[in-house]
Every structure is written in structure tokens, then in C-alpha cells.
Amino acid sequence: MNLLSFFNRRTSAPVARERLQILLAHERGIVGGKPDLVAQLREEILAVVRRHVMVEQDNVQVKMNRDSDISTLEIEIEIPAPVAARA
């Protein structure tokens, strides 16, 4: 390992943290017997966006971070580039 790669190395702990947050938001819904909020949000958001733009299911990312004081909902929708020459 050279000095440069030592400094540029992406640390793995933040990856672990993010993976756990996504997974547990999902699993808590299932285990608790409650509807999976994140999955439900994804479906509904997708339906609304699709009224206007065609997006693929995989292009909608919904993330929820829970904290004792504040929870955040992060929604990322990838919209395809408009078809170039509309004849």
C-alpha cells in the first residue's frame, strides 16, 4: 500500500452503517407486523411520479434514518433523459 492509497482509502464503517440503516428500516416493519413504511412510500411515490414521467421501479430510492431527536426521509428519483428527437 503506498502513501496515496492510504490517504484515499474509503473507510468501510460508514458503508456498514448505511447498509444496516436501510436493512433494519425494512426488517422492523416486517417483524413488527406493521406495513413496511419504506416499501409503501416507494410504491406510492412511484405511482405519483408515473402520472407525469415514466420511471423504472429500480430508479426510486427511499431511505429513512431514524434518530432519537429527528428522522429524515431521503427520496432519490432518477428520471430518464427525454427522448431526443420527438418526431
Binding site: 473507510t11 468501510s12 464503517a13 460508514p14 456498514a16 452503517r17 447498509r19 444496516l20 440503516q21 436493512l23 433494519l24 426488517e27 422492523r28 417483524v31 413488527g32 431514524r66 434518530d67 432519537s68
Partner: protein
């Protein structure tokens, strides 16, 4: 009033038995009357970690089934007279644990002890559910590692739904015990930090036990780390955890095994 405390985790190998022995011995060291019960029927190890493996005659299953009296099965620690062990059976399986039988044994123990520590087996099956069933307090042992955190999250869900206290509408007191923590690796971003785990699991922290050679050294000789080397980093961390468990406010620090130059050069002493 006696308190029933379950030491649980879901995942195996994170330090439930080590922590049960260490917390039990530290509580007893402070003068409380303590019994530690091994719920890992079929795979008992608490007896070995506490150095009492050659003194087991009767076990938890014998008492649950009425084949032996509680006093015949309890093993008194040779170092601390107010510390006892109730071993698990090695030849039976966890189906032998009946809810009524366990409740009866715990009720009898409540008359004799201040703390009843239930060392849960790994998993979420009968042994684990029986160990947590009648608990007032839970210590969730977690390593700063993805599979351990996930399993702890699952166990917290069970503590909130499948315990007697939860079913009666009460709320079981839950504490996180973070074990095998390496502050240097966490600082480098190679290990989940204390705050990461706390944010994900959202239960209060009772202690941080640093990764240490002392833990293996203690189990090698069959002595809880809090008795074998109370001044060691894990020893001090467990003693701090016990003070918090008893309601004291103790500043959260991560003890370290400080080695002088001599220790660094000639660090390999025998246990």
C-alpha cells in the same frame, strides 16, 4: 427487591457468557447476593468460564422438573461466597425448559438473591425466549459489526413483545453493552463507532468493553475477568457498567490497557 437480568444478543460468540460471569462477579464483589443461571441447555459453558465445571452435580433442568432441590443444584463460588451459579444441563435439550418450571425456579431464587442473571443462549428459539421471559432488565451484548447489530435489533424487538413484562403492557429496561470494541480501528473508520451503534439500536449504553487479551486469559483459568484482573481494561469497564446498572452516573470512558515501554517490549506474560 430482587432483579432478574437477562444477558442476551441473538448472535453467538459476542460475549454473553463472558459478560454474565463478569457482571455477576462485579455485582457480588460489591456485596450483593448474585446468582448466574446458564440457559444454554445442551451447550453449557458458564460453569467452565467461572471455573466450576468439576463441581456440577445437579442442574437447572433437574430443578425445573423437580428432580433436585434448588439448594442441591446451586454452586457457590469459591472466591466470593455471595456469588452462585446454576448450571445448565449438558445432556438435555432446550425443550426441557417449561415456562411454569422456569417461573417457579426464578420465584424461589428471588427470595434468596438480589440479582438473578440469566445467561441466554444464542438464537431466538426456546432457550433464548425462556431466558428473557421473566426478566425485569435486559443487557443486550453487541459487537460493532453488522451481523451482531442486526441480530441485536431483532432481540430488542422480542424483548419489547415476547417478555412477560411487555405482554402485561410494561416496558422492560434495556441496556446496550458494546463488547470487543477497538477505539483505534473505529477512529480509522474501519469499525462502527459507539455512536453509530447507539443511533441504529436506540437503547441506552451501559458500557463499552474494549477488545482485550485479558478476556481470553481469564476464561483460560476459569475466572470472571472482573475477579481475575479487576484493574485490566475490560475489568474496569465491567465494574463501570455495574455501577451504571445500579443507577449511578458514571462518565463514559473506554478503559485501555496501558503498557509501558517494558510491557511493550516484553508484553507476553503468562496468565
Amino acid at each position: 427487591m430482587a432483579k432478574v437480568l437477562v444477558v442476551t444478543s441473538g448472535k453467538g460468540g459476542v460475549g454473553k457468557t463472558t459478560s454474565s460471569a463478569a457482571l455477576g462477579a462485579a455485582l457480588a464483589h460489591g456485596g450483593d447476593k448474585v446468582v448466574v443461571i446458564d440457559f444454554d441447555v445442551g451447550l453449557r459453558n458458564l460453569d467452565l468460564v467461572m471455573g466450576a465445571e468439576r463441581r456440577v452435580v445437579f442442574d437447572l433442568i433437574n430443578v425445573v422438573q423437580g428432580d433436585a432441590k434448588l439448594n442441591q443444584a446451586l454452586i457457590r463460588d469459591k472466591r466470593l461466597e455471595n456469588l452462585s451459579l446454576l448450571p445448565a444441563s449438558q445432556t438435555r435439550d432446550k425443550d426441557a425448559l417449561t415456562e411454569e418450571g422456569v417461573a417457579r425456579v426464578l420465584d424461589e431464587l428471588r427470595q434468596k438473591f438480589d440479582w438473578i442473571i440469566c445467561d441466554s443462549p444464542a438464537g431466538i428459539e426456546r432457550g433464548a425466549t425462556m431466558a428473557m421471559r421473566h426478566a425485569d432488565v435486559a443487557v443486550v451484548v453487541t459487537n460493532p459489526e453488522v451481523s451482531s447489530v442486526r441480530d441485536s435489533d431483532r432481540i430488542i424487538g422480542l424483548l419489547d413483545s415476547k417478555t412477560e413484562l411487555a405482554e402485561k403492557g410494561g416496558r422492560i429496561e434495556k441496556h446496550l453493552l458494546l463488547t470487543r470494541y477497538d477505539p483505534v480501528r473505529a477512529e480509522r473508520g474501519e469499525m462502527l463507532k459507539v455512536d453509530d451503534v447507539l443511533e441504529i439500536l436506540s437503547i441506552p449504553l451501559i458500557g463499552i468493553i474494549p477488545e482485550s487479551e485479558e478476556v481470553l486469559r481469564a476464561s483460560n483459568v476459569g475466572s470472571p475477568v472482573t475477579l481475575n484482573n479487576p484493574a485490566s481494561a475490560p475489568g474496569r469497564a465491567y465494574f463501570d457498567a455495574v455501577r451504571r446498572l445500579k443507577g449511578e452516573t458514571v462518565e463514559l470512558t473506554i478503559p485501555t490497557d496501558k503498557k509501558g515501554l517494558f510491557g511493550k517490549l516484553f508484553g507476553r506474560r503468562a496468565a
